[in-house]
């Protein structure tokens, strides 16, 4: 019974951590993409003939903006969907105790 409550506690904290990882990463990328797209449209409006060149630059920057948010999101998903080290550690300790 105690072990069940311990595991439940860890799972709860894991859910919060995963939510923070995914949510904050998405927030940051969203702001980044908003600024990036806005500036791109501004630039094209000023000089429409440069739009092809700007598009390539925007795609490069999109990749850069994307990258670290994606790592954070994956860590969140891993916490969400796998057992991971936390729960298995508790189960191991529980085995040793009992």
């Amino acid at each position: 019974m105690e072990i069940a409550s311990l595991v439940a506690q860890v799972q709860g904290f894991k859910a919060i951590a995963a939510g923070l990882l995914i949510g904050l990463a998405s927030l940051g990328t969203a702001i980044g993409f908003g600024i990036l797209g806005g500036k791109f449209v501004e630039g094209v409006a000023r000089q429409p003939e440069l739009s092809n060149m700007l598009m390539v630059r925007v795609l490069i920057m999109a990749g850069l903006v994307d990258a670290f948010a994606v790592i954070s999101i994956v860590m969140g998903l891993l916490l969400f969907f796998t057992n991971g080290p936390f729960v298995s550690y508790i189960l191991e300790v529980a085995k040793q105790v009992s």
Partner: protein, 259 residues
């Protein structure tokens, strides 16, 4: 699917490993070779090399075939990108960029194969774990980025010579703050391999994990999310390969620039 979701994912995240101490399949601490990454990487590299060699030998001047057109397009694209950023004389950078771009692109493209297709085929022949995408393995991406890092250091020393010392000591803040300058320079250089490798690894790993998550849905509902993610992923694959190439060129041209 008869397994728990967590087991299914963890099963898919394990490599086919070779213990280099005893040359048996299994985990060997530090001396572990990820066989799947190694073999798939080698096959893709040989494929690119073979195709390009074939085209180079069978080149036609009058009416180029489709394959020759494709190869010329790739070479011209990379050549143009290199010419825009790099203005030095080195003969190595353009071929390096071409190989990096095509190799990473091909390895990333393996992400679009169904996640269970190759592993389950190999499962019938007795292979327990197999990860198809080499760039979703940090060892692969760090291997490439550390190679680039060594080239950056090599060119810094050979091209700049004694000038490098002056640059490191005085670069952002002037000569009186030289300890801070050295610290900044070291940080700037050592961040490069990490950012290169982690960016590529993170994106490919994320793509693979989301495909695995989609594969856990019931079979009739996999098509829509799988299709959407695959289309989005084509963009990511190309952009990540392009960014890796682009940053390599930029770093190497920074190593060549004298101020």
């Amino acid at each position: 699917m008869s397994q728990l979701p967590a087991n299914y994912i963890e099963h898919h995240l394990e490599h086919l490993q070779l213990n280099l101490n005893t040359f048996t399949i299994g985990h060997g601490g530090f001396w572990t070779l990820n066989l799947d990454t190694f073999i798939v990487g080698l096959i893709t590299a040989l494929l690119i090399g073979g195709v390009f060699r074939y085209v180079a030998v069978h080149m036609q001047v009058g009416t180029p075939g489709r394959l020759q057109n494709f190869v010329e397009m790739a070479i011209e694209f990379v050549g143009r990108t290199v010419n825009e950023t790099y203005h030095g004389k080195s003969q190595l950078i353009a071929p390096l960029a071409l190989v990096l771009f095509l190799w990473i692109f091909l390895m990333n493209t393996l992400d679009l194969l169904p996640v269970d297709f190759v592993p389950s085929l190999l499962h019938m022949t007795g292979v327990e774990h197999f990860k198809m995408v080499p760039t979703a393995d940090p060892n692969m991406t760090f291997g490439m980025s550390v190679t680039v890092f060594c080239l950056i250091i090599f060119y810094n020393f050979t091209v700049k010579g004694w000038h490098l010392g002056k640059e490191v000591l005085t670069s952002p803040f002037g000569p009186y703050l030289f300890p801070l300058n050295i610290l900044f320079r070291l940080l700037e250089e050592f961040v490069k391999p990490f950012s290169l490798a982690l960016r590529l690894f993170g994106n490919m790993f994320a793509g693979e994990l989301i495909f695995i998550l989609i594969a856990m849905l019931p079979w009739w509902s996999q098509w829509l999310p799988g299709g959407i993610w695959a289309i989005f992923h084509i963009l990511i694959i190309t952009i990540q390969a392009f960014i890796f190439m682009m940053l390599t060129i930029a770093y190497l041209s920074m190593a060549h620039d004298m101020h």
